[in-house]
Amino acid sequence: MTSTAPLPESPAGPAASAVGLTKTYGRGPAAVHALRGVDVTFGRGAFTAIMGPSGSGKSTLLHLLAGLDTATSGQVLLGETDLTRLDDTALTLLRRERLGFVFQQFNLLPVLTAEQNIVLPTELGGRRGRGAGAPLDREWLGVLVDVLGLRERLAHRPSELSGGQQQRVAIARALVTKPELVLADEPTGNLDSRSGAEVLDFLRRSVRELGRTVVMVTHDAVAASYADRVVLLADGALAGEVTDPTPEAVTAALDALRTSLPMAGSAR
């Protein structure tokens, strides 16, 4: 399938990056250091996976990249924009126009049909005023719907769709605004292996053929192997990288991580 949406003239540089990003919950001896000074960049047009044992801070990193949470210190840059300087409304508008999300729980609104769910981000702005943004590109919508095989299902409610179909609707929603960055948090966690494979395939195709940038958090080595690069996190800090991953390479890297870590009882 060929790309029908030409990439905008993008300046050179990563799609997003974290600079000295730190996130701490609580205070004093009970403090939880979720991220400790993480520096990482995510290139344009690339599919990156973030992996690590539970408690490594990968979900926290994703949330901070999305502007859903505030960092304790450090910066998050989306293109040229420093997210840490924006107020809540500006962050919200940024999420509406420049980011796309896919969650583990499908997070579709049960009162809306599949089509209404897909176009929801474009309709949040109303007709005029702040945050109206670009109107919906119907041609692009058509492409997404066909690529994801949702043409027959557009008028159905989420309760009438299978798990895999719901996740595909979520992906369409994430892509409909042609965002600079698509963030996915364990997108295959609730799916059976066949639907999961379909979803990962679509994500990869959106990168290869539709020119998107995707950052995915996962704990599944097979899912991570669909990515171009795997970033490993452990204990709130970067712990390594695997390029052009295969499931075996990723598993090996994870095992190496586990054995190099101190045993249970490490301070978190």
Binding site: T92, R96, N107, L109, P110, V111, L124, G125
Partner: protein, 932 residues
């Protein structure tokens, strides 16, 4: 299990808060009603008891007054320490600055009874010799007499002359030697009180009782008895009764007042203990209060019913949210019954706590009511504290808890249906589709249609539409009207029950429709709000339905009152053609002219456009040209020049035919007199007496035959029952006619009700207290309307105030539903925030949802209530409306008030969303998206 339940309840206390508020409001209402009623009972008891302080037994006559000999007999009876006669009458007091009627009591020599009088003495001393009086301080002030001042007591000596000649009053000069205070309200049922010595009191009250021939009797109305130490009041009572029976009197000791059918030549004398007297007096005084209490409790019942919907909603959502926990409990080994009981126990705990709060609130309200009463009626003794009777405290507690538990029964049963397997499966999205039974739809339609038919039929019946067809066949038109009203009431209740039963079908569709209309211009957030408002149809129906009850009833009352007001105004216009009539009522000698200062005062009121003095006379008339004692009819006549009359009547054409020798007769009067246009009638003064034979038929004239004045009848559309003539004709018919009337026409842009009130005030102020000025009455269409409207408005205010509680609880229900929905949708709202919905947009979304739910409830209530109010007024006033000729078929819709009602509903829906929106906005999206 109980510990778990209570801990669960405490952890979710926030969600139960609003439900608790609803229960507290309902029980507070009930408690306030019961406590205020207890307050009235205590007030009445205290005041009645105070009248007999010191006495243990009361002997009261129901016919002839008790004599000194009888008093001595009583004092002599065993178990009696002392007895004294009591005068209970009234006299007219004349002072420097006014005259007043006051209750008359005598002083007493028995020390035990005198103590009560001494207690009431605020200054000076009690009267001890003839010509001395003690007055209540307020009366003394009004009459312009202080301690040591002088007054006159106006007595009307009664003669046995039946000739009808008036007796001249005799003014007896007295000195004020003491002032009374009236803390206990023993005297509050009379306008004032005066104490005099027994001799004086007996003399002044002579004539209160008369014997068969009309001769005045002097004596006591009652004898107060003090029991001897060591004897009980019952013993003394029986002893006194025995003694009186020996003296030849019939007695009764069981109840107050003569029983039906007594034998002998005098009704029995009551001999009762003071406790019996107090109980019986309180009973009869409170009979009306008990009815009032029941009516108000009916409103409280409506409020509690609305509260049950709030509770059911809350517990339904709680159970749905705790599915996981409940499934876990079942997995681990709790039985279905234990699960059910835990929900009910939680409801009971909520009920007890909320009801206790409600009782406290009700007690507070009752205290405020007492303070207000004390302020408004200074003479009434009001208990300063709260009167807490066991019934008033326990009943609301029991009712409140009971209602809460009953309301939680359905959700409790739903909790038992949670399968243990649900603990092992991941949490599924809530099932949005709800089953609605066909039976429910069918019965709701039946009730709605059947009720509607009954309602329409009843209204038609009551307004006499069928009168021609059915008249004479089955009962009179009055009976039909009663049947019509009954049918309309039953039909109204049935159709409303149908609406409530079918709310689950009707309401979601209505909300959806309005939501779609409103969302058209609002973009996605507005559309989401509209969709979310109906996503759980059952919950929306129940929330909106609760509000529907309150708003329908309020709208019903408002429209009913407006229609009643309009209809009565039209009827009054027909009966009183003149806006305001000021009439001098005359004295014993006949009509008297209006005092010039009264005329000046009345015509100086702003809003008066035209006025004319009128001559009035009461005439007797009959058809023909010669007076005939056998066919006399009463004819009230008024006279002024044609121009003057035309200026004060709504339609000058009514007096166009007025000419010398012509009498203008209103159509209704002409029908009742049996005269028609062009007939001749002869009129003469009504004081002319006829002579009657033994059977009572008139045979001729008592004195000289009257000459009579002949008039030609002209029937017009004039309203009322007063005929109009020119002054020359009236004086020819009755030379004693005087200018005792003033007819006033109000300007078109003035408020007739307010101006009529002003005229009344002006006339009263100008009247003065000169005994020679005869009293003046203000009547007329505007004046009557003022009276009616005041009553209608006051009643409306009271009723709406009572309904306001139910409406408030329903609005609390809206807030409750919104806040529960927010909790359910935590994850969804987080997704929306993540996708790009700003905080402001989220708040507006929830506000719109609240406004939709409440607004549709208000709108439906306004529509339904207007229909019912109009139907109700039409059926109740059917007869009046027909007579008034007004179009009962056009409803009178007070748009301002109805719009206010709708506005309140919408505003409250918006307000209800504030706190839930705050919670929704405060939750950071990331917290909700995180895995459990």
């Amino acid at each position: 299990m109980l510990r778990l339940t209570l801990r669960q309840a405490r952890s979710t206390a926030g969600r139960l808060l609003l439900a608790g508020v609803a229960v507290a409001m309902g029980t507070g209402f009930v408690a306030a009603v019961l406590l205020t009623s207890a307050l009235f009972t205590r007030t009445t008891t205290d005041s009645v008891a105070a009248q007999y302080r010191g006495a243990d037994v009361v002997v009261r006559t129901n016919g002839t007054p008790l004599t000194d000999a009888e008093v001595a007999d009583v004092a002599d009876a065993p178990s009696v320490a002392a007895a004294d006669g009591r005068v209970d009458s009234g006299v007219q007091l004349v002072g420097a600055s006014g005259t007043e009627y006051a209750g008359l009591r005598n002083t007493t020599t028995a020390p035990a009874l005198a103590a009560a009088d001494h207690d009431r003495l605020a200054a000076g001393e009690l009267p001890s010799s003839s010509g001395q009086v003690a007055l209540s301080a307020a009366t003394a002030q009004r009459l312009g007499a202080g301690l040591g001042g002088s007054l006159s007591v106006r007595t009307y000596p009664v003669t046995t002359d039946l000739s009808g000649a008036a007796t001249e009053p005799v003014d007896v000069p007295v000195t004020v030697v003491g002032l009374l205070s009236d803390d206990t309200g023993a005297l509050f049922d009379s306008s004032g009180a005066v104490l005099a010595t027994t001799a004086d009191a007996l003399a002044w009250s002579s004539g209160s009782y008369t014997d068969v021939s009309g001769a005045p009797l002097t004596g006591y109305s009652a004898v107060l008895v003090v029991t001897a130490p060591g004897a009980s009041p019952q013993e003394a009572r029986d002893a006194v009764a025995d003694r009186l029976r020996t003296a030849g009197l019939q007695t009764q000791t069981g109840e107050w007042g003569p029983s039906q059918g007594w034998t002998g030549d005098a009704p029995p004398v009551d001999v009762l203990t003071t406790q019996q007297v107090v109980d019986s007096a309180v009973d009869s005084a409170l009979g009306g209060t008990r009815v009032l209490t029941s009516v108000v409790l009916a409103f409280a019942a409506v409020a509690l019913f609305v509260a049950t919907t709030v509770i059911t909603n809350t517990f339904s959502v709680l159970v749905a949210q705790r599915t996981h926990q409940l499934a876990l409990l079942r997995c681990v080994g709790a039985t279905k019954r234990q699960v059910q009981r835990s929900v009910l126990a939680e409801a009971a705990a909520l009920g007890v706590v909320a009801s206790s709060v409600g009782v406290l609130v009700g007690a507070g309200l009752s205290t405020v009511a007492a303070a207000v009463l004390a302020h408004l009626a200074p003479g009434v003794p009001v208990p300063t504290g709260v009167v807490l009777t066991p019934a008033a405290v326990v009943a609301p507690l029991v009712v409140g808890t009971g209602v809460t538990v009953v309301a939680a029964l359905a959700p409790a049963r739903a909790a038992t249906r949670v399968s243990p397997l649900a603990a092992l499966r991941p949490a599924a999205a809530p099932d949005l589709r709800t089953r609605t039974s066909r039976l429910r739809l069918a019965s709701s339609l039946v009730l709605l249609l059947g009720g509607g038919v009954l309602l329409v039929g009843g209204v038609l019946l009551a307004t006499g539409v069928f009168a021609d067809a059915v008249n004479g066949a089955t009962g009179t038109s009055d009976e039909l009207a009663v049947w019509g009203v009954a049918a309309a009431v039953v039909g109204g209740m049935a159709s409303f029950s149908g609406v409530l039963l079918g709310a689950v079908f009707l309401v979601p569709r209505a909300v959806g429709l309005v939501g779609r209309l409103v969302a058209r211009g609002g973009g996605a957030p507005a559309r989401l709000a509209a969709l979310n408002a109906v996503r759980n149809p059952r919950r929306t129906a129940s929330t909106t339905g609760a509000l529907l009850i309150g708003t329908t009833l309020v709208a019903l009352m408002v429209v009913g009152a407006a229609t009643t007001s309009r209809t009565l105004a039209a009827a009054l216009d027909r009966q009183y053609p003149v806006d305001v009539q000021v009439t001098s009522l005359g004295g014993p000698d006949g009509p008297e002219p209006l005092a010039p200062e009264v005329v000046r005062a009345a015509t100086a009121v702003p809003g008066v456009r035209a006025w004319t003095p009128v001559l009035t006379a009461s005439l007797t008339a009959n058809r023909g040209t010669t007076p005939d004692p056998r066919s006399q009819t009463w004819l009230e006549a008024a006279a002024a020049s044609r121009g003057q009359l035309a200026s004060v009547l709504p339609d000058p054409a009514w007096v166009a035919a007025l000419a010398p020798g012509t009498v203008v007769v209103p159509r209704d009067l002409a029908t009742s007199l049996g005269v028609s246009d062009g007939d001749e009638v002869v009129a003469y003064p009504s004081t002319t007496q006829a002579q009657y034979d033994d059977q009572g038929t008139p045979t001729g004239w008592a004195g000289a035959a009257p000459q009579g004045h002949v008039l030609r009848v002209a029937v017009t559309d004039l309203g009322g029952y007063q005929a109009l003539v020119l002054p020359g004709d009236l004086t020819a018919a009755d030379p004693a006619a005087t200018t005792s009337g003033l007819w006033v026409h109000l300007s078109a842009d003035s408020d007739p009700v307010a101006v009529a009130d002003d005229v009344q005030t002006a006339v009263t102020d100008a009247g003065g207290t000169d005994a020679s000025t005869s009293p003046v009455a203000v009547s007329g269409a505007a004046a009557e309307r003022a009276g009616y409207e005041r009553v209608i408005d006051t009643m409306l205010l009271v009723v709406v105030g009572l309904l306001a509680v139910a409406v408030l609880i329903a609005l609390v229900g809206v807030a409750n539903t919104l806040s529960l929905s927010v909790i359910e949708r935590t994850r969804e709202n987080a997704v929306l925030r993540a996708l790009g919905l700003t905080r402001g947009q989220l708040r507006r979304m929830l506000a719109l949802e609240g406004a939709l739910v409440a607004g549709v409830g208000g709108l439906l209530g306004v529509v339904l209530g207007s229909l019912y109010g109009w139907a109700g007024a039409a059926s109740l006033l059917g007869g009046v409306a027909a007579a008034g000729g007004s179009a009962i078929w056009t409803p009178e819709l007070p748009w301002g008030r109805l719009a206010l009602l709708l506005g309140v509903a919408v505003a409250a829906g918006l307000l209800a969303s504030v706190l839930p929106a705050r919670r929704a906005v405060r939750t950071p999206p990331v917290a909700a998206l995180a895995e459990q």
